[in-house]
Symmetry: C2
Subunit: 485 residues, 2 copies
């Protein structure tokens, strides 16, 4: 899919404005970040960044796209874009330098997930598409991490979570990219075949109610399915009556066993799944199928899974759809992309830029930013946001919303979250396997302090600004106040 | 985008099961509908149906797709799909007969938006993709209709609503298809350039905060923008202070006027927009710009627009983003696709099929269904769902959830909502212009009784089953009860 025009018109009118004003080649640095952790939690899982890089590498206005732009008119019916500007777009190739956190990284509010540097025109032009790609996938990866974190056995071991959300996703691509992000966030497989082919995610699935309804009896439906897939039968038992269906499944399972195969299990999709799973477990065990798994699906999310576990549900595998891939309880991360600094040419000094607001949380952070994460003996100490020019000093960090100070112990080990991934528009390294991002997310969530993993929490990891950067931000805010007094 | 594999794996395993069982060529009829009106309202606006037809027409397994399916393995590491089955998929072309309501039609719970008839294998295979395409677009078109219905002046005239949601949409296609659906639902334009090119939707937009931040002063930013787009300047005034920004805009507007151009207006994007718009209106009027429009954006939806109007906001144009294109307060319609009847061959009688449930609302409606809408003198009387074989009788209709009876007056005029659109997999007519669907939606919403247009309402349009169909449904439910007694 060509994403060059998957952007807001104003990115193009601004590009044209910069071009007309002769400042298109000024250098700018933008940061993509979010302000509030989604779903009432304390963290997010970065995702969609590799898709963002692919978009940037492939940025290219085709003749058809330019013809369309050339056809647009202003209110006075004159062309919106001068043809010389469109000619310049025809030659445009991405020259941006980009840093990102690796996909699957735990990220906190105000930390840049992505830093874009280069010609003002280009760095501005890509805003909408980057927000669209990274915002949505980060949201779904975070939801998946929360769901998978809830789906743990009594010893804390992770139970399989399957993503089943395509039918309720926002368009085909809203489905495929949600499947990708859900996998990064920790899911084990998807039902989405296109996502399986495109991203190498394991695909899973068995049959639907309509399979059962296509036959005269549930037994005939199960027998026919077992005959077609003797080694891979999960019977959906709730078309008519879940426990009765489970009994029928065990009888078909016995036939399968006589023929040398084992049924894999059953799926519950409606009703009181705590009670039904306990009943189904008993029926399966008594019929000699203690290894048969119980899959549950139907409006599940981290809250429903936790509630089912609290009620003693005997569910082995979790099928999670709508509430995961639409991020049902918060369908937007609210990611933003803000200008941090500008300079006339690459050799000049950066001039700080920030969005001033009467709400401290809405003030952006000026500079060309880096993020250093400090750990000590496996404990999360603090994350520091600093300006590359000013560096990261030893003075206590300053909370960007509260102003609270926090010193980083001298023996804490820091590592940089942002890595250079695109130089002058070209990848510096090949894309990593998606499974690597997934392992990173799972390991990071496992390592988080319990308070930050709570489903709903006011706990926050300390993210602070370098003290000098905080003073710069304060003085810019102050000078705006002066100006408007 | 090739959507053939944008489906759940189980559609393919079921297809394989039908093929193995020798029943792939049995005839089936499925219906796509929703059960509860979204957003607490009383209606939905059908959308996405033309995209669904394009998908069906283009259904085709490529060698690459078949190779991928051939690579899938069962738990015992044997191939999931026999190669003879994959060979049959290579030859598959859509043979389905499809009826739909026209896009932009007001539809109520339980009414089929789309009816699919044809070989069981094919009619089942397409479920997920149809739900994905039609469910999402119907949801967004409905949201757009509600937003546009709220955006009316004191005389009831519609005010312009611009859709700005791409950056928060669910992937690029979640954005483009949301823009399409928002236009069908009544929006006037989109910021999404790709949607503009693809669907011919008018595109709109001016500049962002980062434009203002790229210059040393707001005045310089506005002047530069005015110079670049003298005939099309809407100045975003809230980067530093909305009212101060409005004053600067009037000064630049005066310069523009001296040069023979008129500024179009200003945009407010944060703060108390009732108060700010009243203040900005006064500043604009006093400075001699009574015709300058005030555009508002920022977390708007039908509720926020209504609240602003109640507070006397002086807003002329509404920019609606996140809450529209993500359907923020209900990001899934919960559309379903249910088998209604099956027969061994085209000449045989249909055998009814239905999903039985202890919840009346969740019982599906058996048959090969039609929908007739009855009006009398411009008043909405009732919608009747009937089975094509049984026909629509004169006896009172029966509510599918409540069992309530309602007679249709003899002088009511009925018209069929479902129209044949695909015959043996090919369109019977060319696609209609999107603007036609939009006009249909706007006219239908305008004609709805006030009670059904309330933002939150328990009022329902009466949708009833033909009396004989209701008895068939009752008797199938009863026989299932008997069976499980």
């Amino acid at each position: 899919m060509d994403l060059t025009l998957s952007t807001d018109l104003y990115q193009l009118t601004m590009a044209c404005g910069y071009w007309k004003a002769g400042i298109a080649e000024q250098r700018a640095v933008f940061h993509l970040f979010y302000r509030r952790p989604p779903f009432g939690g304390a963290y997010a899982i970065a995702a969609g960044l590799d898709d963002a890089l692919t978009y940037l590498e492939e940025l290219d206005f085709s003749p058809e796209e330019l013809a369309y732009l050339g056809s647009l008119r202003k209110e006075d019916d004159t062309p919106l874009f001068p043809s010389a500007f469109l000619d310049s777009l025809a030659d445009l190739r991405c020259e941006l330098d980009v840093h990102t956190v690796p996909e699957g990284t735990v990220v906190f509010p105000h930390e840049p997930l992505l830093r874009v540097e280069g010609p003002l025109l280009q760095a501005q032009l890509v805003e909408t598409t980057l927000l669209n790609l990274v915002g949505f996938q980060t949201l779904v990866a975070t939801k998946a991490a929360r769901v998978c974190d809830a789906a743990r056995g009594q010893g804390g071991e992770r139970e399989p979570v399957l993503e089943f959300g395509l039918r309720r996703s926002h368009g085909p691509d809203g489905g495929a990219s949600a499947s990708r992000a859900a996998f990064v966030g920790g899911c084990d497989a998807t039902s989405n075949v296109l996502a399986g082919m495109r991203y190498g995610i394991p695909v899973k699935g068995t049959h639907a109610h309509s399979w059962v309804m296509a036959f005269d009896t549930e037994r005939e439906a199960f027998e026919t399915y077992a005959e077609a897939f003797p080694g891979g039968s999960v019977f959906l038992v709730d078309t008519y009556d879940s426990l009765e269906g489970t009994r029928v499944a065990t009888e078909v399972g016995a036939q399968l066993r006589a023929a040398g195969h084992e049924m894999v299990g059953i799926r519950l999709d409606s009703g009181d799944m705590a009670e039904l799973s306990i009943g189904a477990r008993r029926i399966l065990d008594e019929a000699g199928f203690p290894a048969a798994t119980i899959v549950a699906s139907g409006d599940l999310d981290e809250h429903a899974i936790t509630a089912l576990k609290e009620r003693g549900a005997r569910i082995d595998v979790w099928g999670v759809g709508t509430r995961l891939t639409t991020a049902y309880d918060q369908p937007s991360l609210g990611a933003v992309y803000k200008l941090g600094a500008i300079r006339e040419e690459p050799s000049a000094d950066w001039e700080y830029r920030m969005k001033v607001s009467s709400t401290p949380a809405k003030r952006s952070i000026p500079g060309q930013l880096g993020v250093r994460r400090f750990m000590r003996g496996g404990e999360w100490v603090a994350d520091a946001i600093y300006d590359e020019t000013l560096g990261l000093g030893d003075a206590p960090l300053v909370g960007p919303e509260t102003g609270a100070a926090r010193a980083v112990p001298a023996d804490a080990e820091g590592h940089e979250l942002l890595r250079p991934v695109l130089a002058a528009g070209r990848r510096t390294d090949p894309a990593e396997p998606l499974a690597t991002a997934r392992e990173r997310a799972r390991a990071s969530v496992d390592a988080l302090p319990a308070a930050l993993r709570e489903r709903t929490t006011d706990a926050r990891h300390f993210v602070g600004l370098d003290a000098r950067l905080a003073r710069v931000r304060e003085s810019i805010t102050e000078s705006h106040r002066e100006k408007h007094r």
